[in-house]
């Protein structure tokens, strides 16, 4: 069962050093513009954020020793 980007707001703030749940992202696949907090979160060995409109990957985050390995996709609109 997924949750959403709000559930890893703390981890995202560790990575970006600011809140990004209110940051909009434009999807590389469907061009939908949605806040990161509205993205779907799937947890497994790592954390995967997906576009709420098309399901394509927005971010993959894996905890590694002393930090995180992070891959992000699409256009994140920092204000």
């Amino acid at each position: 069962m997924h949750t959403d980007g709000n559930a890893i707001a703390g981890v995202l703030e560790e990575v970006f050093a600011r809140d990004v749940t209110a940051t909009d992202r434009v999807c590389q696949s469907c061009r939908a513009r949605r806040a990161i907090g509205a993205h779907r979160l799937f947890r497994g060995a790592g954390m995967v954020l997906r576009c709420p409109a098309c399901g394509d990957i927005a971010a993959a985050i894996v905890a590694v020793e002393q930090g995180y390995a992070v891959s992000i996709r699409g256009t994140w609109l920092f204000k």
């Binding site: 069962m1 997924h2 949750t3 959403d4 980007g5 709000n6 559930a7 707001a9 703390g10 703030e13 560790e14 809140d19 749940t21 209110a22 806040a35 990161i36 907090g37 509205a38 947890r43």
Partner: protein, 242 residues
């Protein structure tokens, strides 16, 4: 964002499954209604468990309050609800989140839709609204299993007797409780949200919080009713070990 030292000042029972922890937090910078915190417990052998909990108190409140619902076999919530006592200490970081937040002075009616303990961040908004003497049109729909599962029951009844439209639906009860004679006794549906109002196009800011299936259904119904999807903010919680 660093981990801070938190000490429990008071534990307040809310329902048979939930308690409010009133906390003293070192250097707490204040928060906005709707935000949450991460809590980290460390065992003697160094094992750590981390969970997120919504803030229940208004930003105006002198102390930080979290309401925690026990999840059966949950690693952290069972400790916080069953074992934690005044004087106990743990680590906490926050406030966290900038998406699912509301503050007094924002335009548009405030519409809150809660499933179970999804009420916690929403009650923070209502408490903030009251503390700030904000006059925004505010409406709450809470879905709970039975009347005994309703968090802040007396407070909700008082808010409902005041200027907040408080509606309740009980999914596993046969009849409405005395203080909410108009409560529904079924799962959330379109007619309920239509009656809660306001009509689409009135610029409402809508906040939906609860377990994922509840949030998905409520958000879908709201958009189906004609509300702009971007005006519907959601926060889902699910099984993360409790």
């Amino acid at each position: 964002m660093s981990w801070r030292h938190a000490a429990i000042a008071e534990v307040r029972p809310e329902t048979a499954h939930a308690k409010t922890l009133v906390l003293d937090v070192d250097g707490w910078p204040g928060h906005r209604a709707g935000q949450h915190v991460d809590i980290r417990l460390t065992a003697e052998d160094g094992y750590q468990a981390q969970r997120s909990y919504s803030i229940a108190s208004a930003p105006e409140s002198p102390r930080l309050e979290l309401t925690v619902e026990r999840i059966e076999d949950g690693e952290v919530s069972t400790y916080l609800v069953d074992e934690a006592r005044a004087g106990d200490e743990f680590e906490l970081r926050g406030p966290i989140g900038g998406y699912f937040v509301w503050h007094a002075g924002l335009d548009g009616p405030l519409v809150l839709v809660a499933g179970g303990s999804g009420l916690v961040p929403l009650v923070a908004m209502l408490r903030h609204r009251r503390a700030a003497r904000d006059m925004t049109d505010a409406r709450l729909l809470l879905s709970a299993r039975t009347a005994d599962d309703v968090l802040y029951r007396d407070e909700l009844a008082a808010l409902g007797a005041g200027d907040v439209a408080v509606r309740l639906t009980l999914t596993r009860a046969a009849a409405p409780p005395p203080e909410f004679p108009e409560a529904w006794t079924r799962r959330i549906d379109r007619a309920m949200l239509e009656e809660l109002g306001p009509a689409p196009g009135t610029g409402a800011r809508i906040y939906v919080c609860g377990p994922t299936p509840f949030v998905e259904e409520a958000a879908r119904l709201l958009v189906e009713l004609g509300h702009d999807a971007r005006s519907v903010r959601t926060e889902r919680f699910g099984p993360t070990g409790g």
